[in-house]
């Protein structure tokens, strides 16, 4: 016999539909109300016209766009190269900090000092110290390219953050896993690379990607050293026109550049959450 939903079920489902319809209507009204309040406050402000002219001028946006875009190409290269080095250096520092071998003690100590210092130092200060201080030493074989030194500063700062994220992941792996690896006869380093690290990196993938998003946006800071990136190009345009729209264009492009990675991070986090719920580990 085919299944006939009971009147009880139909009643329950109708009630649920009613509630969900009501929620949609409430969300819609509340969004509209807040949007109109914002619009009235902003457009009604005494300086609104002036602000719109100097920050959101279509004319200047169109004329600055090609210059800012070509500057962005530099940011793109800087962020990709910095990300690669940050992941490698961060991983090495995390491994050094979690090792127990006595021969690595000095390296462990150095890694600890390194992460303490570079997580505390403002990035701007590192940029000045490396970008202006290093060329000041006048060592002939060291470059004084703003791009290279700026990228180096980014790598120095972000490796410290990424190292701590990876270290947290390594320490979050159940110690029984390490024991099981050793019990099979795997050496310390085999256990680390085949058993612990793969699990650690999976655990910390979302916060790791979050740091990379932040790195992408901060690649714009190398402009303080004079590298002609998107921000610097916008600055040059602004200096000629006294209109700030080019900066807004650069900002919009940065947002567009980071969105794929942020969406990917969200997707990965959701996927991991779902897997945990399925395994009943929530």
């Amino acid at each position: 016999m085919t299944y006939q939903p009971s009147p009880l079920r139909l009643q329950r489902e109708a009630a649920r539909r009613r509630v969900s319809r009501q929620s949609t209507i409430v969300a819609l009204i509340s969004t509209l109300a807040i949007a109109s309040v914002l619009a009235i406050v902003v457009t009604g402000a005494p300086g609104f016209k002036l602000v719109r002219q100097s920050f959101f001028s279509w004319h200047y946006a169109v004329s600055a766009f090609p210059h800012v875009l070509s500057g962005l190409w530099l940011n793109l290269r800087v962020m990709v190269i910095a990300e690669i080095f940050v992941l490698i250096l961060g991983l090495l520092i995390a491994l050094a900090r979690t090792s127990h071998s006595p021969i690595l003690y000095p390296i462990r100590l150095m890694a600890t000092i390194y992460t303490d210092v570079f997580r505390g130092l403002p990035l701007l200060l590192v940029l000045f110290l490396v970008g202006l201080g290093v060329p000041g030493l006048q060592i002939s074989w060291i470059t004084n390219s703003a791009v290279v030194l700026g990228t180096t500063s980014l790598v120095l700062t972000y490796s410290a953050y990424v190292a701590e994220v990876i270290r947290a992941g390594i320490e979050a792996v159940n110690p029984a896993q390490r024991m099981a690896g050793r019990a099979l006869g795997l050496t310390q380093s085999q256990t680390q690379s085949y058993v612990v690290l793969p699990q650690a990196l999976r655990k910390v993938a979302p916060p790791l990607l979050n740091d990379l998003v932040s790195l992408q946006k901060d690649s714009g800071l190398i402009s303080v050293l004079g590298a002609i990136d998107a921000i610097r190009s916008a600055g040059i345009e602004t200096a000629q026109s006294f209109n700030f729209t080019p900066y807004v264009v650069a900002g919009a492009l940065f947002v567009a550049l980071t969105i794929p990675l942020t969406r990917f991070t969200d997707w990965l986090t959701r996927k991991q959450d779902r897997a945990r719920v399925q395994q009943g580990q929530w």
Binding site: Q177, M179, A183, L184, G185, L186, Q190, Y194, V195
Partner: protein
């Protein structure tokens, strides 16, 4: 008499002022199965962990196939590669599928090629009715299946001794039965085993000898029948009556 496969001599182990193993001596002949029983905290797990060198010892000696494995110059990785261990909590590697879990040690520790290791593993899985699980990840298996995979992972490298530490304690009765069937089969194949368990019926079935541990000492030993039917010491009598009251005997 030939050299025992495993011999523990006057083993002593303490955590700070807490003496957990007190002058333990056991010998395990090749193909012999000894079962350790006793309350939690009696030292069963510590003894097994000391034997595969996951736990340092204070005094005494452990000999594997006649070689002193507690000597200072011994490389513990090489010893552990010759001893199989299975734990209460399975400890399968969650990021590797069943086949990868089983072939990791043969490939990385024993230098077997990937193809050969996988062929061996598939044959083994097939024999124990787990062939269809080869590509699955541990999280999707039942507890009994996970523990059987963990046991196969430990025996695929043909260890000289297999140590089983309360391998059924985290399982419900139906799953316990399938794990115990696998262990019985290993006994039939001549595997030398030291088993810590709370399953007295199982002890009766597989044990060549049962050792009763209490506060870090072997208080009584004998055949399963002797130990379970005619306990001599008050400690063992208390332990057995507690089991009986809990309906575990």
């Amino acid at each position: 008499m030939s050299t025992p496969m495993l011999e523990v001599k006057n083993l002593r182990k303490s955590y700070g002022s807490d003496l957990v193993l007190h002058d333990i001596s056991v010998a395990l002949a090749e193909h012999e199965v000894k079962v350790l029983i006793g309350a939690s905290g009696s030292g069963k797990s510590t003894l097994l962990r000391a034997i595969n060198l996951l736990e340092g010892i204070d005094d005494g000696q452990i000999l594997l196939d006649g070689h002193d494995i507690t000597a200072v110059k011994v490389n513990p990785d090489e010893i552990r590669a010759q001893i199989g261990s299975v734990f209460q909590s399975f400890n399968l590697f969650p990021h590797l599928n069943v086949l990868q879990n089983i072939t990791l040690a043969p490939r990385k520790v024993h230098g077997v090629s990937k193809d050969e290791a996988e062929a061996n593993a598939m044959q083994m899985l097939g024999r124990f009715g787990l062939a269809d699980k080869a590509k699955q990840y541990p999280d999707l298996l039942s507890g009994g299946q996970q523990q059987r995979v963990a046991i196969l992972r430990a025996v695929i490298t043909k260890p000289k001794v297999l140590l089983l530490d309360e391998v059924t304690s985290a399982l419900d009765p139906i799953l316990i039965a399938e794990v115990l069937a696998l262990i019985s089969e290993l006994k039939g194949e001549g595997m030398t085993m030291m088993i810590a368990t709370h399953e007295m019926g199982f002890a009766k079935r597989v044990a060549d000898q049962v050792l009763f541990l209490a506060h870090g000492q072997i208080v009584e030993s004998g055949s399963a029948h002797e130990i379970l039917e005619s306990p001599k010491t008050p400690e063992l009598q208390n332990f057995l009556s507690a089991l009986r009251e809990a309906g575990r005997l």
